[in-house]
Structure formats: structure tokens, C-alpha cells
């Protein structure tokens, strides 16, 4: 008698799906247990030392001053955080724009036919890239801002519209119009720009003239801004020296200046390498074809090579932008009140450390994710459509 053939069914412990899910659950459980352990410790320790774990400290008065901002020590910590966030954005956005421009110039310089320009660009990149950023910021603060810029008593006033001193740089700024009407003017400008660009493209398609949509639109945009503003009764306030400080206009804080310069020159050295690599990755034939069409050197670079190079450069450029945003936290050591400095000072004044730093970290992570979302969109938009 033959035994009955067992039903050929895989036992559950050899089922691939079972194995994979149980493995995952074990890993997840370990991670969760670890996090739970950390969190339990945190609750116990804060409870025993009577340290608050919530965010009520945001409502209490900050009791510190923020240089260069319209902020009273009696205002809440929340407002201080807002100023910190704005200052981080201010140095990051301006820094990203300037670092990109400088980086592209130096990246092109590294491939220049001029021997001196090529060597100097290489030296710039190799020196700046291999120095700790902290050393660079200390240098820009001690060496550039404090040594090069004049005292307030002998401040420079180029064209009479700016004030430059080591207590800050005064820049003319607008005043007198409400924010809403400015926004209206701004949108009129943007829509005009768009319409003009459309029209120029149509003309270009019909007649074969160069479109120059950017220039037409840009000029209209600026004109719309200026005209709209004057019509709305806006004024420009010029900065001037008022005793020991700069009054009127907008004052660029010397610490801001030092941190900005350091971030720009450091990041530009990295961007230059990316740009150089991307230009070299553009097929040589593209440049030769442009030369064959009798384009000038500038046209060849600006209209043919660079657009293709930047397409390759977008993802690594995005990484550099993220680095710049995160590196702006080093401004904390140099009296620049960005987010990290605000957090540090408020913790020093008795705000609970963990919630305060969690808030700062959350902002940085969100800002990073938003930036990489932008980079991804740009990358998809400009990616070469392969046929």
C-alpha cells in the first residue's frame, strides 16, 4: 500500500511573502522599540527635572535683541523664530543666486583659452574647496568685513545713494505704498512679461528674427514696476549715517555680509567644478557646429553650450543649494541671527532644548524637501527628451 501523496503545499514558514513580511515586521519592531526607549527616557528625564516638553515657551517673551531687525526683547519667542527663519531664507536665496553666477563664471574660466584665467580659476577652486567653511567664515568676518570696510565715521557713500561701513551697508529701499498695491503692480508686470514673450515668439516664428523674449519681457517688467510704483505714490528712502548707525533704507548687517560672502565663495568653488564637468560632457561637436555658424564666443557659450551643460548640472547643483542652506547655520557663531542662532540663544535663556531644536530641525528638513522638489521639477522640465 502506498502512502497517500502529501498535498504539495508550501508550509507558511517557507512562503516568500510570509518571510519578507515577518522580516520587515521584526526590523520595524526593533526600530520602533529603540525609538520608544529613547522617547520613554526623554519623558522620564524631563519629568524628573521638571523641564517642559511642549511648545508653550514660544509664547513667552524672548528677552533678547536681534540686531538689524525690528524686534523688541519683549516680543515672543515665536516672533524671534519667524525672524530667524526669514534671515535663513534671506542669506540662502541671495547666496544661491550669487554662488551660481560666480560658480558658472569660474567653471567657464577653468576651460578658458587664456592660460592665466585658467590657472587662476583652478587655484580658486582647489583652495576654497579644500578649506573648512568655518575657517573661511572667520576669515571673511575678520579679514574682509572688519579690515576692508571703513569705520562709520569715514563710511563710503558711492553715488550718494549707499552707505558702506563696517557697521553695515545701507541700501536704498522703497516706502510709502501698501503691500497689496505692490503685489498688483507685480502681477501686472508678470502678465505683461508673459504676453510680450508670447508675442515675440510668434514674431520670431513668422519672420525669423531672434525672439529676445527675455529682454523684451524683462524690460517691460521693470518699467511696469517703476511706473506703477511712482503712480501709487511710492518713494525711495536713501540710507544715511545717523550718529553711530545707519538709518533709512535697508541695512545689510556686517555679520550677514560676512556669512554671505563665505557661503558664496565656498559654494561657488563646488559649483564651478560641476559646471566644468557639465560643459566637458557636452559633445565637442556642439561647440564646433556653433563656430561653424559663425557665432561669437559668447553666443557659442551662452546659446549653445551652457544650456545643454546646465541640463546635466541640475541634480548636482541642487545638492549644492541644499548644502548652502544647511551651511547657513554656521552664521550662528558670527552674530548673524538666523534660525540656529535664534534657537541657541533662546535655549540659553531657558527655553527647553529638545522642543526648541526639534522646531529648528523640522524647518531645515522641510526647507530641504521643498528645495529638492523644486530641483526635481526643474530637472524633469529641462531633461533632454530622448527620442
Amino acid at each position: 500500500m502506498t502512502p497517500p501523496i502529501p498535498k504539495s503545499r508550501t508550509p507558511f514558514y517557507r512562503n516568500v511573502r510570509f518571510i519578507s513580511w515577518s522580516f520587515q515586521l521584526v526590523v520595524f519592531a526593533v526600530v520602533a522599540a529603540f525609538v520608544y526607549w529613547l522617547f520613554g527616557n526623554y519623558q522620564r528625564n524631563t519629568a524628573s527635572s521638571g523641564i517642559p516638553t511642549n511648545f508653550t515657551f514660544l509664547g513667552s517673551p524672548a528677552s533678547f535683541d536681534i540686531p538689524g531687525a525690528d524686534f523688541e526683547p519683549t516680543e515672543s519667542v515665536r516672533n524671534a523664530y519667524v525672524i530667524g527663519v526669514l534671515n535663513t531664507l534671506r542669506v540662502s536665496i541671495v547666496g544661491i543666486i550669487l554662488a551660481t553666477i560666480l560658480g558658472i563664471l569660474i567653471g567657464i574660466g577653468r576651460l578658458s583659452k587664456n592660460w592665466l584665467v585658467r590657472k587662476l580659476s583652478t587655484i580658486y577652486v582647489e583652495v576654497l574647496r579644500n578649506l573648512p567653511l568655518l575657517v573661511i567664515i572667520t576669515f571673511t568676518f575678520l579679514g574682509v568685513v572688519l579690515q576692508v570696510l571703513p569705520r562709520i565715521e569715514d563710511s563710503w557713500t558711492p553715488l550718494g545713494i549707499m552707505v558702506v561701513s563696517n557697521r553695515g551697508i545701507g541700501v536704498p529701499w522703497y516706502s510709502g505704498t501698501s503691500g497689496l498695491s505692490l503685489i498688483v503692480v507685480f502681477f501686472v508686470g508678470v502678465i505683461g512679461w508673459w504676453l510680450l514673450a508670447r508675442w515675440r515668439h510668434l514674431v520670431a516664428d513668422r519672420t525669423g528674427q531672434p525672439a529676445r523674449a527675455f529682454w523684451f519681457g524683462g524690460v517691460f517688467f521693470l518699467a511696469a514696476l517703476v511706473v506703477g510704483w511712482i503712480v501709487l505714490g511710492g518713494r525711495i528712502i536713501l540710507p544715511m549715517v545717523d550718529g553711530k548707525r545707519i538709518a533709512g533704507g535697508i541695512r545689510v548687517d556686517p555679520s550677514y555680509f560676512a556669512v554671505l560672502i563665505a557661503l558664496v565663495i565656498y559654494t561657488a568653488s563646488h559649483i564651478a567644478e560641476i559646471v566644468r564637468g557639465s560643459i566637458q560632457a557636452v559633445p565637442v561637436g556642439q561647440g564646433e557646429a556653433a563656430s561653424a555658424l559663425a557665432l561669437s564666443g559668447f553666443q557659442r557659450m551662452w546659446n549653445v553650450v551652457l544650456p545643454q551643460a546646465m541640463r546635466i548640472a541640475i541634480p548636482p547643483l541642487g545638492n549644492q543649494y541644499l548644502n548652502l542652506i544647511k551651511n547657513s547655520s554656521l552664521g550662528a557663531g558670527f552674530a548673524y541671527f538666523e534660525l540656529t542662532q535664534v534657537t541657541q540663544v533662546t535655549v540659553g535663556n531657558g527655553s527647553p532644548a529638545v522642543p526648541a531644536f526639534t522646531l529648528a530641525l523640522t524647518f531645515y528638513v522641510v526647507l530641504s524637501l521643498i528645495t529638492s522638489a523644486f530641483v526635481n521639477v526643474a530637472n524633469r522640465r529641462f531633461k533632454l527628451v530622448e527620442r
Partner: protein
Amino acid sequence: MTNAALTGRPARLWVRKNLFRTPLDAVLTVVFGSLSLYVLARLALFVFVNARWEIIERNLKLLLVGRWPADQLDVLVTSVVVLSLWGGVIAGIVAGRQIRKGTSVIAGMTPTQRLSDLGRRFGLVLGTSLLLLLLTNSSGPWLMAGLMLVGGVAGTWSGRRIGVRFLSPIVARAGILIMAAVPIATYAYMVSAVPLAQWEGFIFNLSAAAAGIILSFPLGVVLALGRRSKLKLLKMVSVVYIEFVRGSPLYVLLLLANVSLEFFVPASIAPSKVIRAMVTFTIFTAAYLAEIVRGGLQSVPRGQEEAAKALGLTPAKQMRLIVLPQALRNVIPAQIGQFISLFKDTTLAGLALGIFDLLAGAGVITQQDDFRGQGLIIEALVFVGFLFWVGSFTMSRESQRLERRLGVGTR
């Protein structure tokens, strides 16, 4: 082109071609030329005339090794000599293997070419070491440097003898284990002599960077595998970790580790600042390494994995034996890049945690009685910046060389 240009001497021709090709070129040359001459003159004036290097001379030991106990200096000397021997052996084995495989570049060089090649690669480091030695006024460091040199050369010599031979897998495996054990044993030897909390000065920067990159490696590989995994839960954990850490500034993480770690771990195991810094560096670098390794994994052709599967290897073996070795080999240059960036970032620990590292040392020595209030911070910063620069620059050039050799990106 005029006749004069064509008939000019080579030097003039070169200048014409490389400096004054077009009017714009001429302007650039004149502007940048005079600017760089001015900067060069100012720099030379500072370094050779105006700077007061006495502050560095007197504090050299403090800046480099911090307060490493004087009676334990022999431990330090032994360790660095052992490590240079170890480094020499590895370099020798690599060179020997290349000779065996016939891919060696140096094998075809004449001795003079070899020497100039080595000079180009490591001349800067050697020159800097010589400069530091000249600044000391005792014989100990000279002795140490001599021993290191002897160790390195002897290591390379014997390493090459090993490398050119074909070793049986068992011997090779044992050799790899021994080579991996050497730095760990050295490290244990140093820690048993001087607790980690007392590792200061440049030693801190070097050891924290090394510890960070080595410790983060396993975590980074696991995270990379997790992120590529088809297992959803695993992938989610990895992605959240990687993106959260990559979105956070290292400086803020260090500040957080400084003021709030005792809330999260029991007070009895709250570690010293140096360990705190190393743990933070590890956590931070792991996320970046994970992305680097992920790039490496993507660079391995699919066919490799499929072929491994066809051979009947289990998924774990496919990964361990076929995919991972190729992936990791491809990302060595990127890892060196990460190491350089961590090396520079160790200076943040000085500011955030108050560790006496090389850069923090620059601030401390300018407060000493003999040097206070004289603006000597510039001298101190130039010295600190120079040391970091020499290290980073040499490493980045070596990494570029390696990149060309491995042919990363050319396939």
C-alpha cells in the same frame, strides 16, 4: 594672423596664443595678472615678514595633540608608526597586484620618473611635515617621523612582495582579516592608554573623521540596501532616515547632541563629548554614504544580478558576492570625497560641543598671556587652514587619480 606672430620665437608665440589672443583676453590678462601679483605680494609680505609665528611655534604640540599625557607619548608614537607600516603594506599590495595583472602604471617608470611621480603626489604632505618638524625644538618628533618613514617604506616593500604572488583564498582571507584587525587593535591600544575624552587637537579631527567614515560604512550599506529593497516597510524606514538626516545641518545635530543627549539615554551611559561628536558624525555620514552606495548599486549592470540568479545563488549571496563588490569598488572615489568633507566638518565639533579641536585651539591660544589681544587669530587661522587644506587637497587629488584608474563614468 600677421607674419610677425608666425615667425616669433616659441615663448612669444606661447604668450600671444595663451595670454593675448583677443582684445578681451588681453584685458583679462592684465586685470587678473596685476590683481594676482598684488595678492601674492600681500600674502608673501604677511607670511614672511609681518606674521608672528611664535604663537604657533610655542603651541605646536598643544594644537596637534592637545593635552595628550606626556607619559603616554610613546603610545602615540608606536601607534602612528604601526599605522604607517600598515598603510605601506596596503599600498604595496595594491601596487604588487597591479604589477601581477599588468595594469601597473609605475612598473614602466624609470626610477627618476617614479620619484617625481611620488613627489607630485605626496610632496605637499612631506613638505608640510618637514615644516612642522622644523618648528619643533626637540628631537622626539624627528625620531617619530623617521620611524614612520622607515615603517612606510618597509611596509610598501614587503607589501609588494606579497602582492605580486598569487595567494590561496584561505591565506588571502586570513590576510584581509589581519589587515582589518591592525587599525582596530591600534585604536584599542590608544584608547586603553588615553581615554577618548582626552583626544584633542589635530588628533581629534583626524580620528573623528576616520571613526565617522568607518563606523558609518555598515549602516550606510544597510540603509542603501533598505532603500532599494522591494520590502515596503524596510524601504520606508530607510528613506525617512536618509532624508531626515540629509535635510538637517550637521551643526544643529551637534548642538542637539550636546545639550539634549542626556535626556534620551540614561545618565549612567551619557557619553563624553568626543564620543558624542563621533556618534553624530556616524549618524550623519551614514545617510550620505547610503546615497553614494545606492548610486554604486545602480551602476552595476542588471545582467550581473540576473547571471547570479541563473547560477542559483540566493538573493543574499547574489548581493554579497556579485553586486555589492562591484558597487563598492565603483564608489571608492565618492567615499573619499565624503571623507574629505567629514574631515573638514570635524571643525564644527569644536564650535558646537566645545571640544578642543585644531580650530578651537586657534581661539584658545590667542587668549594666552603672551599673545592675548594682538590680533594673532589671523596667524592661528592661516596655520589651521593650511593643515586642513594640505590634507584635503592631497586626498582629493589621490581620489581623482583613483577615479581615472577605475575608469568610473567612462564605461
